[in-house]
Amino acid sequence: MAQTAAAGHADHGHDHHEDHEGLKVLGFWIFLVTDCILFGTLFATYMVLRTHYDGGPTGAELFEMPGVIAETFILLTSSFTSGLATLAMHQGKVKSLINWLIVTAVLGAAFIGLEVNEFINLAHEGATISRSAFLSAFFTLVGTHGLHVSIGLGWMVGLMFQLKRRGITAVTKRKVTTVSLYWHFLDVIWIFLLTVVYLMGVM
């Protein structure tokens, strides 16, 4: 396990947890690199197929910007509140930390709600994943982001219980750090989504 301190040194007795948690954060950063590539591949696929309508509806016909802009604001705000949660954690305020996480999760849930709503509306108009290559790429790219957000939500809720029971420790601190990294990352991906899919789509 953690072993940056050489054995035999006099100051060796302390617990290794601290830098072991740091190790996990580094691993999480590398995981985010792989996730970047995953999204990059989906974006590339979308770029290739985005004009392959096969006689079906186009992006300009389908996308309803008010909903998308609302989603954007909600998600950006949730990224901000997750930042406030981290801030509260560094000040050692468990209660405020949990509250900000709850706000973040509620905003995240609202985002997912809007997205599901959008998908259902599209399906009602006959714009399903099997209609055209463009729609296959659209649903997969946007849906993968939505799936990521949903997983982040479940993760955050689980973390709230752990924070309630254990308070702020080295371990829970690392977990809050990684989940907020993840959340900011999804925000960045969304900005690209907004630009490449929606703004370029209605242009």
């Binding site: 691993g27 590398i30 792989t34 995953l38 696929t45 392959h52 290559a133 296959s136 993760w155």
Partner: protein, 653 residues
């Protein structure tokens, strides 16, 4: 009711071929034998506690090794079936469909379920020991990686007897792999088998990257790190950048098949050529992912068995890193004939040839290391020496293929088959075998018998050249890949029969190796010093097999080839006067259970059974939550226990 069951069984189980009945019987017998032995000797608890739930990297490495050898057997049998079918014209041993399935599973298994796990076996067996570390960065994740690979491999192999094997080639090109051409479940087995094990591979890449960057013994600067560890780092960089592409590609293909999406279909605006681009953006780095660790192995072995420091250490490191970057700029050479245009083809032709330069640097460095060295012809060195000419020929034919205009001639011919087997067998298989012979005593405490090993070595080598040299000629004579039979009038028969003889010689070589292992378990030379070969790196400074914590006292590194340096300074004889408690991870059953759930979910997706897939996925997430809520994950080995273990292992302290 009975009719319904009968009807279901006749589509569910693959029937109608004696080979498959044979496989059914052998699978059933093996299962019964395993169950019987475990119950009779009351070994269930031992199996669970010591192996299925272990997070010890050395044991995980051994499990990887065993699984990959089993897969080498399965992939090898596929190869021999193909060679039997092609030995003479107009043979009716396999029919066309069966032949398609066999070449598909041969390719997939050899790359993804044999080469990859064998590589991970060596990562796990060696890297923490070379770095002077007590474990990998994430031991739990490491166990999970193994079990994901294992379940993925089992799922893939199940297709042989349940539902039907994939038969669209090892990379599953659409439209062949789409519903329109492959309506059965074979492609689904392919997608989910690889997807599940691929997640494990990606996690291993992250795990070993962090291990190498962060867990080196004090004083081991990056430029003092053993070259095998460098090669692992280089391979991990490629895994991290390449495997997400594979994940996406397979997911998209599955969406096409499962939800009727149109990514790669011929209708609906899909583009099959995009699949080919995506799969090779992963696939070409993949061949470097598996070959680079072999280069690391050769560097270690050449140095130890020539009793010299490796020549050109820095250029070795630099060339590996260069290869890992260049590997991402070569993928188009797999389809020069696509019609991408002269400029694109020229770019990829040049970048493909450029990769030969750092590779050539490495070969010369090995030769210079041997120059004026005191060379010992032990098994690891033999395989290393056999690798060099083999890889040189393979590299030369590779450059021939990389010439874009000439590739229009060789494309899809047996010339290509001969080339990539030459680099993959000569590079990867010879390399990993060398590595296994080299590190076997470290992990198991005994050497593999030299005499039987030499038999295996010569059978493999002579068999190899007999098998693949004629295939170059066959390529020029116009024999294309994937043909399952041909006529007498082609004039291919003499070359094919020689090739088949060679393939069977390699098969006999493998049998010799199995014999060698089982013989050596009882009679092999025991390794009592821990330093079997007069090694240079830290893994040889501890007893064989190493205790669970590897290093009782974490070593301080001063020089490259740290252990050699310690031996020269006489520091190797010094025993520590006191020990500290050691912090270790606890075993966990979650990796195994979670992977079983993945298997259940994967099987459900293969057959489109949501009643099975959904609970499977719920189980997967349940395991994640269970892990997240468990805080009691490590423990301390008391100093007294460490002292006693060391006393028992090293004798008089």
């Amino acid at each position: 009711m009975l009719d319904k069951i009968k009807d279901f069984a006749s589509t569910f189980f693959v029937t109608g071929d004696p080979l498959i009945y044979g496989a059914d019987v052998s699978i059933a017998l093996t299962m019964i034998a395993i169950l019987f032995v475990l119950t009779y000797y009351k070994k269930w608890g031992w199996l669970w506690k010591e192996w299925l739930t272990t997070v010890d990297h050395k044991k995980i490495g051994i499990m990887y090794l065993i699984s990959s050898l089993l897969m080498l057997f399965r992939g090898g049998v596929d190869a021999l079936l193909m060679r039997a079918q092609l030995a003479l014209p107009n043979v009716e041993f396999l029919n066309a469909e069966h032949y398609n399935a066999v070449f598909t599973t041969h390719g997939t298994i050899m790359i993804l379920f044999m080469a990859m796990p064998m590589m991970f076996a060596l990562f796990n067996m060696v890297v923490p020991l070379q770095l002077g570390a007590r474990d990998v960065a994430y031991p739990f994740l490491n166990a999970l990686s193994f079990w994901l690979f294992f379940m993925g491999a089992m799922l893939f192999n199940l297709s042989f007897v349940i539902g039907g094997s994939p038969d669209a080639g090892w990379l599953s090109y659409p439209p062949l792999s789409e519903m329109s051409s492959s309506p059965g479940v074979g492609q689904n087995f392919y997608i989910w088998g690889i997807q599940i094990s691929g997640i494990g591979s990606l996690a291993t890449g992250i795990n070993f990257m962090v291990t190498i960057l962060k867990m080196r013994a004090p004083g081991m600067k990056m430029m003092k790190m053993p070259l095998f560890s460098w090669s692992v780092l280089s391979s991990c960089v490629m895994i991290i950048f390449a495997f997400p592409i594979l994940t996406v590609t397979l997911a998209l293909l599955f969406l096409d098949r499962f939800l009727g999406a149109h990514f790669f279909t011929l209708d609906g605006g899909g583009n099959p050529m995009m699949y080919v681009n995506l799969i090779w953006m992963w696939g070409h780095p993949e061949v470097y992912i598996v070959v680079i660790p072999a280069f690391g192995i050769f560097s270690e072995i050449v140095s130890v068995f020539s009793k010299k420091k490796v020549f050109g250490y820095k250029s070795m490191v630099f060339s590996m890193m260069l290869i890992s970057v260049l590997s991402f700029f070569t993928w188009v050479h797999h389809f020069f004939t696509m019609g991408a245009g002269a400029d694109v083809n020229a770019f990829f032709a040049i970048s493909t040839m450029a990769i030969g330069i750092p590779t050539g640097v490495k070969v010369f460095n090995w030769l210079f290391t041997m120059f004026r060295g005191r060379i010992q012809m032990k098994q690891p060195m033999l395989w290393t020496l056999a690798f060099i000419p083999c890889f040189v020929v393979g590299g030369a034919t590779g450059v021939m293929l990389a010439v874009a205009p000439a590739d229009y001639q060789y494309h899809n011919s047996y010339f290509l088959i001969a080339h990539f087997h030459q680099v993959l067998i000569g590079g990867v298989v010879f390399g990993y075998l060398a590595g296994i012979y080299y590190w076997w005593p470290k992990l198991f405490g005994f050497k593999l018998d030299e005499r039987l090993g030499k038999w295996a070595f010569w059978l493999w080598n002579i068999g190899f050249y007999l098998c693949f040299m004629p295939q170059y000629a066959l390529g020029f004579m116009g024999m294309t890949r994937r043909v399952y039979t041909y006529g007498w009038d082609m004039g291919w028969a003499p070359y094919n029969i020689v090739s088949t003889v060679g393939a069977f010689m390699m098969g006999i070589g493998f049998i010799f190796q199995v014999w060698q292992i089982s013989y050596s378990i009882k009679k092999g030379d025991r390794d009592l010093t821990g330093d079997t070969w007069g090694g240079r790196t830290l893994e040889w400074s501890i007893p064989s097999p190493p205790p669970v914590y590897n290093f009782a006292v974490v070593p301080e590194v001063k020089e490259q080839d740290a252990w050699w340096d310690m031996k020269e300074k006489g520091l190797d004889k010094i025993r520590p006067d006191h020990y500290e408690p050691i912090h270790m991870p606890k075993n966990s059953s979650i990796p195994f259970i979670m992977s079983v759930f993945w298997f259940v979910a994967g099987f459900g997706f293969v057959f489109g059974w949501m009643w099975m897939a959904v609970p499977g996925m719920i189980g997967v997430f349940g395991c994640l939550i269970a892990r997240s809520f468990s805080y009691d994950t490590d423990y301390y080995i008391p100093a007294e226990e460490v002292r006693e273990t060391e006393l028992a292992l090293r004798g008089n302290v």
